[in-house]
């Protein structure tokens, strides 16, 4: 039994995690006739909390409440992993990345996000503010404008062979490449 838990604690290889994530698609379809997608939950929060007579938020969000249960589950999954399956070793990434990031003072590789940037203290610094506040805004604005995120477009949409989802996925990747390689170095230098 201990060995199973020890095994779970290790980082999971892509060929284990990918298929499990892919199985979310038929699971949600068969158990509830739901298409896999997460960013809509942000819209439901807007519709529930501050619809403000905006047409985009005038719908019966309670009918979509499964999505909020799902998202809350993801949050609980994070807590459960931290309590029982935590691996204290730092993430093993490419040595070039470690060299590049240490140049910007990012030396703590132990968390999911770099503690050197994503903290309350760094919220008041230019790079912390830009990455957390503007970055978060772009995730919300961009996914809704695109009509979905990595789950709705890249996984669900591509699984259903939807051309618009392929276009969206290519755009996600293009945006990420531009940001990580061309813009992020400037932000991290601030």
């Amino acid at each position: 039994m201990m060995t199973i838990i020890e095994l779970i604690k290790q980082p999971w290889p892509w060929y284990v995690a990918g298929p499990i994530i892919g199985l979310m698609v038929p699971t949600l379809l068969i158990f509830g006739n739901k298409t896999f997608g997460i960013s809509s939950s942000l819209r439901h929060v807007c519709a529930a909390c501050l619809p403000a007579k905006i047409p985009f938020f005038q719908y019966d969000w309670k009918k979509e409440i499964w999505n909020l249960f799902f998202v809350f589950g993801i949050f609980l999954g994070g807590i459960i992993t931290a309590m029982y399956f935590k691996n204290d070793a730092a993430v093993v990434v490419d040595s070039n990345l470690i060299t590049e990031l240490s140049g910007y003072g990012i030396v703590d590789f132990s968390g999911l996000v770099p503690a050197d940037i994503f903290s309350w203290a760094s919220l008041a610094t230019p790079r912390g503010f830009i990455l957390m506040v503007i970055g978060g805004f772009l995730v919300g604005f961009g996914t809704r404008y695109a009509g979905g995120c990595t789950s709705g477009h890249a996984i669900m949409g591509l699984s259903n062979l939807q051309l618009p989802s392929l276009i969206a996925t290519i755009s996600f990747m293009a945006g990420g490449f531009i940001m990580a390689n061309l813009i992020l170095p400037f932000i991290l230098s601030l």
Binding site: L29, C46, F56, Y59, D94, L112, V113, R144, N181
Partner: protein, 167 residues
Amino acid sequence: MTTNKKDTNTDFEVRSLDAICKNQETVETPMWHNIKYLLFGIAFGIVLIKSEVISWFRIQEMFRLQSFHMFGVIGSAVAVGALSVFLIKKFKIKSIQGEEIILPEKTFNKGQIYGGLLFGFGWAMTGACPGPMFAQLGYGAIATSVTILMAIVGTWVYGLLREKLPS
């Protein structure tokens, strides 16, 4: 399942413009049925963390083409998802409520490019998409609550401006 009330989707026009979010439910189910989505979410959250796909560092690696890991996860997820959808369609598998499974066709609009690029920027900045944010927070990255709050603000501002945006 006591009622089998068909839903008349009154604001279908507005909602159909949005590719992902539609009222799909045609069978009314009691609230406690949603517990199953909570359980699926928990499983998904654990996989996201243990596979490190929600690590900011892994995202940076992906966008610098320094590792195959992320591409392997997304690629194999799509392969399994596509095979599942193919089988569901081929054998006309019904949901456990006995409903026919119909997958909505998505229509192209320019938002998928503009919005997609903007989301890509945000993804590389925060190291998170909408699902992973919640897992990051649960795992203890408390400052991610700022990212989540701002993502909700971003969604709200999109709703406010959507008529004025090119689509």
